[in-house]
Structures are given as structure tokens and as C-alpha cells.
Amino acid sequence: MDKLVLLVVLPLLAAFLMPVLARSSQVLARLSGLLVLLISITLVLNVWGEVDKQAISFAIGGYQPPLGVVFYIDQLSLLFALLIPVMVLIFWPWNRPSSIQEYSLMMLLTASASGLMLSGDLFNIYVFYELLAVASYGLVSVQVRQGQHPVVAWVASLRYLLLGSVGSVMMLLGIAIIYLQTGTLNLAQLSLLAPEALNNITGLSAFVLILVGLGVKAELFPVNTWVPEVYAGVSTRLSALMAGLLSKLAVIVIVRLLVLLFPQPEALHLMTVLGMLGVISGELVAWRAKDMTRMLAFSSIGQLGLVFIAFSLPGNIGLLAGFAIALHHLVVKPALFMLAGGWSGRLEKLSGMAQSSPYHVALFVLLAMSLLGVPPLPGFWVKLLLVMNLAVQTDPVYHFALAFMLLATVLEAAYLYRVVMLFYKKENHTHASSQHSLFDWITAIALAAVLLISVVQLPSVERKLVSMAYQSGNRLLYIHTVFANIGTPEARIDRMSPTDQAKQPLVSEPSIKEKAIKEDLVLGSAEQ
């Protein structure tokens, strides 16, 4: 199992060795980056079957938790550990000559993103998040969009950096508050202590601070001002990577913390409200956008708002809906960005495009229909899941969320329909033509193929998502897995000071379901 740490170590090594290697051989340096990505993918695929059965965890450097740093791997983190190298490989700057430093930053991005997904330690999450942020500031200022002056990207990068740094400081403050309350940073032990120590106003304020910090990357409502500037200034490949993958990583971390650390219903309500504001503001501005990239950037804010609403549903069903929407967006939005790469300029210029490049337009229509939720496509099923589960909630805030979501979908339909109408307008003397590079076109087709395959394979996709949601929504499983090597958490508490033991029962009022899961675990270990 320990070899999974290579997912972080190898790209990190490559990031710093590539510029040195490039001094002797440019080709070797460039190939080494790709090689590391391929190794990462094989590593993940090797343990895929094993993690399907049960989650695993290992301590790094031989120090046992809660003092040592642990990696925790369940189906969720493994799926993203696979998606990170795959997406980086897809959105590698294939289409233009780039400097070795750019590749180096891409590797840094891979390393920190993998670390963010696998880490089971709050402070490690902070460090990897910062690394991810630094790598993306660098990439934003380097990968300038074609035809754009680089100064635009520098300004976008600076504004992103200022906002991101404030977010990071807020997150650090949140972590400091949690440490003050509990005296530990290990997620499993925090989860053990959370029902007692964090289920109060202090814990809630820590959650708000961390939410603001991670929300910068997750395009959460008040801290997403960087989105339109950055996505309009950088190359569409980087926009696709950021909108598709990086925003989801931050969301997944928020969800992980929400499940393990913050059991308050207020935390969920806060996420619903921010998600509602995000979805409505994003779609309203996208409706007014005058060029394709900006429209997609604002629409991505709206979609992320939808993800937040889904994750704010209580229980495993919220996780299921959230994963479904997030993964759907992860496939569709990058494909749309790839198509938008060849359609720069204002929307009116695209009039009559269907005559000159019918296949590109057809693909756009397909992706737009899935984004909207037209029945046979996956977008329909994820939205149906969300709508049905919002409707059965008794809490009125979810009914507001439902209304906002449907309104936003109408807006989305309005602007996407407008673009499609423009595409199919009859123009006698059209000069419109697509300028897609071959790589962009192939990427878009591949992502659309994934979308269509998931239509055919809908039952198995659903099974996978359900087991993923069940596994990642299980607090006790996390605790038991991390502390498996040193006995049960109860034993661990015995070894802690006697006062702590008196203060901290294992779980305050475990629900019937949690009890059942616990019994399952005990039975499972007895069988072994």
C-alpha cells in the first residue's frame, strides 16, 4: 500500500528535476513528465480492485496516527487520484511549444492535487492546497490565451493570487481554531472528538473560515470574482483543467471535512444558501455574456453552485447527488471549453457556423443538451436525482433551493438556446469558420464519448456512485480504518490521558444506522 505515496512523491520530484534535466537533454526532461503521469495511472489501477472492497489507510514514515501523518484511500479519493493524472495528461499543453518551466508547474499541480485528495491530516491538506494554489497562479500567468496580450493574464493572476491568499489565511485561522479546541490535526481523531468539541458555535466559525478558504478554488459565491478574468485570459486547455478538475478537488475536500468534522445542520444550511446565490448569480451573468469563454466561465460558477446545493442535502443521498453532478460537470465543461477555444470573439460572429463546420456545432449541441438536462443524457439523471431529493426534504430552505435551481435551469436554457439558434441561422454570405486545433477537437470528442458511454452504462455508473457515497459518508469507517493498525479507537482513547477519556465518549448518541455499520465492521473483522 505504501507505494501509493509515489503518487505525490514522483510528480513532486519530477517538478523540481525537470528544469535540471533539461539542461542536458530537453527531450528526456519532457518525456520524464509524461512517464511519471503514466506510472501514476498504473499505480492507481493496480490497487483499484482492492479499494473497491474496503478503504485503506497507511501512516507515513512509521509514525502511527494520531501523531503521524496518514494517507486515507477510499473509492472517492482513488477515483480522483486516477482522474488527476488522466486530466493533466489530456490537458497537457500539447498544442503549442512551451517552456520546461510550464511542464514543471504542471507536475507540481499533479503532485499537490494528489496529495490533497489522499491526505488524512488537516495541516497537510492546507499545505497541499497552498501548493496547488501557487502552481495555478504560475500557470495562469504563463499559459496565456492565443491572441491575448500576456499582461491580461498577469493581472488576472495577481487578482487571483490576492483573493486566494486571503482565503488561505482564513483557512489557516480555521485550522488554528480547530487545533485550539481539540489539540489534534488528524482527521480521524478529529472526527472522533468532533461531536463533543466542534458541535458548537466555535466549530461552526471554524467551518465558515475553512469554507471561505477552500471556496476560492471551488468557485463558491462570494469569493469567485477571479473566475471570469482568469478563464478569459488563459488558454482554453488550462481553463478546462481548472473548471473541470481543480474546482472539484476543493469541493471534495469541503465535503470530506463536512462529513467528518462538522455535524451541525447550520453548516449544511450555509452551504445551501451560498450555493443558491452562486447558481442564480452565475447563470444570470452568463445570460448576459457576449463571448463564449465568458459564458462558459459564468455557467461554471452556476454549476458549482448546484454542486454545493447537492452536497448540502443531509445524509448519503446528498453525497450521491453531489458526486453525480460534480462528475457530470467534470466531463461536460472541459469539452465545452475545448470547443470554445476555436470560437473566440463575440457571439454574433458565430452566426451561421453550422454551414461551415456542422460536426463541431453538433457536438456543442449534444454537450449543451446534457448540461441542461435533456432526458437520455446523463445531465438529465443527475438533475432529476437532485430535484427529487430536494423536493422530499421537509426543511423549507431546500424548497427555496429547488425553486432557485429550476429558475437557473430556465436561464441556462435561454442562453444556450440563443447560441444554438445563432449557429443554425441561415446566412448567405457567412465568413464564420472554426479554428479548432486538432488536439482540442480530439479531446472534445473523447470527452463526449465518455458522456455517451455513461448513458449506455448508466446502471453500473449508478452502482459505483452509490457505493462511493456510502463509503465516503461513513464516519466510523474512516475512524476504524485509520486506527486499524493500533487497535480500536476505544483502545486509543484509553492510552490518552484519563481526563480526555472521561470527556470523550466514542460517539454521542450513535444513530441506529451507525450502530448497524459498526456491527458490520465488528462482524467483518471477526470473520477475518
Binding site: 491572441g147 498577469w154 495577481l158 487545533y179 489539540g183 448576459r288 457576449k290 469563454t293 470573439g345
Partner: protein, 176 residues
């Protein structure tokens, strides 16, 4: 947390630094000052984190023998927050250096450090390169600031201002 007098003062100092930093970031319009405010904000957060593991009478862990740790654990300052702060300081310095490098580049091109001006010029450039008209909200505050921009930059970059005016004209005609 039982606080002695010193800790109370330090806590107040940490919160004060955070407040000063946030106020500086939101109220200042000069990018360099914004970076400085960020530095203050980060030191406030770091001080707060240090305080999380600080005991009024504690000593640094390396000065304790093994025996002393088991005897009087409560006398030790918690080393974990100190390690965290060390990491946070290093990350902060790196990010601030990157910010300054970006500011230098931007200053060389736009010849201003004013955030709202930088942002407007960027919006113009973006709109020009994308061949779109600016949205009304981005256009409106321009009439207030433009006189300032021209006063400051007339001698240095007349052609750039001219380009800006051109874009505006295009925008106006399309809107009209």
C-alpha cells in the same frame, strides 16, 4: 484556554493584526499596499496559531529531557503549531514574492499601481482582444476615472489611452 496576561495581550495583538490586514486589503487601492496588508494579515494568523500551543510558563520541547516530558507534560510548549507556523511563513514568503514579481511586470506595462485602473485597463484589453463590447457596468465608472488616468499617463503612454478611446467608440457605436 486559561490565559495569563501576556497571552491575552498577544491574542489581542493577533486579532488586531488580522483586522488591520483585512481592512488594508479591502480599503486600499494600491496593489503594493495590498500585498503589504496581506503580509500583516498572515503574521496575525501565524501569531494566533503560535498562541494555540503556548503556555505562559512552558519551555521549548528540546530543552526538556525525556524524563521531564513524562513528568511535567503540561510545562512544555506545544511544538506542533510552531512547526505549522514555520511552514506557513515559508509559503507566505513565496506567494508574496510571486505577487511582487507580477506587480513589477504589470507596472512596467500599464504604468500604474492603482488596482481599479489596472482592472479597467485589463477589461479593455480583454474586450479588445475578444472583439466584444464592454458590459455597461464596466463602462460606467470609467467616465469618473478617465480624467485621472489621462492626467497621470498623458506624457508616458498617449498611444495606449488612444487605443482605449477607440475601443470605447466602438463600444458606443455598437450599443447605439
Amino acid at each position: 484556554m486559561n490565559m495569563t496576561g501576556v497571552e491575552g495581550i498577544v491574542l489581542l495583538g493577533a486579532i488586531g493584526l488580522i483586522m488591520i490586514g483585512l481592512a488594508g486589503l479591502f480599503m486600499s487601492n494600491n496593489v503594493f499596499r495590498m500585498v503589504l496588508a496581506l503580509v500583516i494579515l498572515e503574521s496575525g494568523a501565524n501569531l494566533f496559531l503560535i498562541l494555540a500551543g503556548f503556555h505562559g510558563l512552558g519551555i521549548a520541547p528540546i530543552f526538556l529531557s525525556n524524563h521531564a516530558i513524562s513528568d511535567a507534560g503540561h510545562m512544555m510548549n506545544d511544538p506542533i503549531p510552531q512547526a505549522l507556523v514555520l511552514t506557513a511563513i515559508v509559503i507566505g514568503v513565496g506567494v508574496q514574492a510571486l505577487a511582487l514579481a507580477l506587480i513589477l511586470k504589470i507596472k512596467a506595462h500599464y504604468n500604474t499601481l492603482d488596482m481599479s485602473e489596472i482592472r479597467q485597463q485589463m477589461e479593455y484589453d480583454l474586450a479588445k482582444n475578444n472583439d466584444v463590447t464592454l458590459p455597461a457596468s464596466a463602462q460606467s465608472p470609467d467616465s469618473l476615472v478617465r480624467s485621472k488616468v489621462i492626467c497621470q499617463a498623458e506624457q508616458t503612454q498617449p498611444d495606449h489611452i488612444q487605443a482605449k478611446a477607440d475601443v470605447q467608440q466602438i463600444g458606443g457605436s455598437v450599443n447605439g
